[in-house]
């Protein structure tokens, strides 16, 4: 999807910015989540005052309003509750249909509705185990002074356990 004349985007149509969050510390105070993600860790913040583990990670605890938060590791393996396979309407950038989503019990921490990759249609069933899978996504051309620096980004989905 080329857009000539917008040199800063290096020929990419502007909406390539839209799929995934800004992950640099200049634009996101929970950037450490993505740093840990690059190490294969799935983390969130825990409140040191009340013990709450809000997800997504926070700057402030939504239960006791403390800002005394620490990073903790969460499980990287979960159990499938149910599966859907999206035949129509998959946004560009998320691959060819079907896009597989599963309701996953993350070992009692949360029930997450997750994209499942590296999985064939019809393969996944209730009760199957899935694990964290981290991949590179489009970098962001971020202005730093007069230079443009490509900020690498990652994101995550889950995939069937072999």
């Amino acid at each position: 999807m080329s857009t000539p004349g917008i040199s800063i985007l290096e020929g990419k149509y502007m909406v390539t910015m839209d799929l995934f969050p800004q992950q640099s510390k200049e634009f996101n105070q929970i950037y450490e989540f993505y740093e840990y993600l690059k190490e294969g860790r799935f983390t969130t913040t825990k409140c040191k005052d009340c013990g709450s583990e809000p997800f997504p990670p926070r700057v402030m605890c939504p239960d006791c309003y403390s800002t005394n938060m620490e990073w903790i590791d969460w499980p990287t393996v979960g159990t499938v509750i149910d599966v859907t396979e999206e035949a129509v309407g998959v946004p560009l950038g998320f691959g060819k249909p079907p896009m597989i989503h599963a309701l996953v019990d993350l070992d009692g921490k949360r029930t997450l509705f997750l994209r499942i990759i590296n999985c064939n249609a019809g393969q996944l069933k209730s009760g199957d185990k899935v694990k964290l899978s981290v991949f590179d996504v489009d970098p962001v051309p971020q202005e730093v002074g007069r230079e443009v620096v490509q900020i690498a980004r990652v994101f995550y989905a889950f995939e069937p356990m072999k």
Binding site: V15, D18, L19, F20, P21, F55, P56, D82, T84, E85, E86, A87, V88, G89, V90, P91, L92, F94, M99, H101, L103, R110, T111, L112, F113, L114, R115, F155, Y156, A157
Partner: protein
């Protein structure tokens, strides 16, 4: 000051895949609204609330309310602002207009809602949808366009309560039959159960006719204080009796229950309490049928039937003409389409007509009506109750 508030005029543009711009549709809707009530002088409107969710994205326009005021020929002096709650933007604007009039901050407020969603590259709307959920977390999972979410809701509801694909089909057939009689609706043709059951697969178990479309269009409603309303309409007065809006989570991972919508139960309880209305007293309802399964769960969580019996309730005709609570009598989202900011206002307009007694498909002697929207990842719910009498 605590005043009664009435709805005195309403109108909508033609909805669908439209030629034209967002500002064109707001003018068409205002024209229809002014034509609905010739006794209303638009120059007397002292407030304007505009409901639009994607205006910055698909029309590249912020600061929308003054633009709409200029285009529809009103000069507000008490409020002129935009309200955004995605699919419930319109109903939110009605609640705020109601509150302003009730408290004496304004006398006559217009609420106008609409969107131009189709862009020259149609796929762009799928990207815009990634902003409708928690973008950084659910958007990155490819969610946003809602069919996968509601497919999972439908699967869970079927598993837990024995709801059948045919129950979903009943909702499509009813709402498309109703929209075929509504000249402003996106879909002008009914569908049969056979067509519905053999529809193209979207996300199992949802097929084409289980899903509302993407829509361009706008709608307008005018609210007035009761003392003004008595002079400004020769039709029966329709009052807003009570409202509720609730949110208990946003991101999917924090959703307390996929098949019982807790925020809907809270919003409904608030609205029923303020309106002094029991669910069984509602004569006509416009509920948020973005998907067929939504209307089924709404029948349950609004208290029209027992939990888990929604599928059987609709299959028994209890939310059709002649049943307990005729629902989506103008075609709903499945038939009229869904330009986000316009939908709540379209619902309010249809309830106004039902209670005035001049709806295209009239529910006999309707005295109490209800509207409901859900928005985002089923994360906020909005309920309004209208009546021919005050609460």
């Amino acid at each position: 000051m605590d005043r009664n508030v009435c709805v005195i005029a309403g109108g909508m543009s033609k909805w669908g895949v439209r030629d034209g711009s967002q500002r064109d549709f707001f003018q068409e809707a205002a024209k229809a609204c002014y034509d609905d009530n010739p006794l209303l002088n638009p120059k007397e409107i002292d407030g304007l609330l505009v409901a639009s969710a994607y205006t910055e994205r698909t029309s590249y326009q912020t600061h929308l309310a003054p633009l709409v005021a200029e285009y529809v020929g009103v000069k507000p002096k008490n409020i002129c602002a935009r309200v955004e709650l995605l699919c419930a933007s319109g109903s939110s604007a009605i609640i705020l207009a109601f509150a302003m009039i009730k408290s004496g901050q304004a006398d006559i407020v217009m609420v106008a809602g609409g969107e131009k969603l189709y862009t020259p590259q149609k796929w762009e709307v799928f990207y815009s949808e990634l902003a409708s959920v928690d973008h950084d977390w659910d958007g990155g999972q490819g969610l946003g366009l809602p069919p996968p979410v509601f497919a999972m809701v439908a699967k869970q509801h079927m598993l837990k309560y024995g709801t059948k694909k045919e129950h979903l089909g009943t909702v499509s057939v009813k709402n498309r039959r109703n929209s075929a009689k509504n000249p402003k609706a996106q879909f002008q043709t009914p569908v049969t159960m056979e067509e519905v059951m053999s529809g193209r697969m979207i996300v199992p178990p949802l097929t084409l006719y289980d899903c509302c479309p993407i829509t361009d269009g706008a709608a307008c409603l005018v609210l007035a204080a009761e003392d003004k309303a008595k002079d400004l309409t020769d039709k029966p007065l329709v009052y807003i009796r009570g409202t509720g809006q609730a949110s208990v989570n946003n991101m999917s991972g924090n959703m307390p229950n996929w098949t019982t919508w807790e925020a809907l139960k809270i919003a409904a309880h608030q609205a029923y309490s303020k309106a002094k209305v029991d669910p069984k007293e509602v004569n006509v309802a416009m509920t948020h049928d973005c998907f067929t399964i939504s209307e089924i769960i709404e029948m349950e969580d609004l208290g029209f039937c027992e939990k888990g019996e929604g599928g059987f309730f609709v299959a028994d005709g209890q939310n059709d003409f002649g049943g307990q609570v005729p629902t989506n009598t103008d075609g709903g989202l499945l038939g009229c389409g869904h330009p986000f900011g316009g939908t709540g206002i379209r619902q309010g307009m249809e309830v106004m007509r039902q209670l005035r007694g001049d709806a295209v498909q009239q529910v006999p002697n309707a005295m109490t009506g209800l509207t409901h929207n859900l928005s985002g990842f089923i994360s906020a719910h909005t309920v309004l109750i209208y009546g021919r009498e005050v609460a």
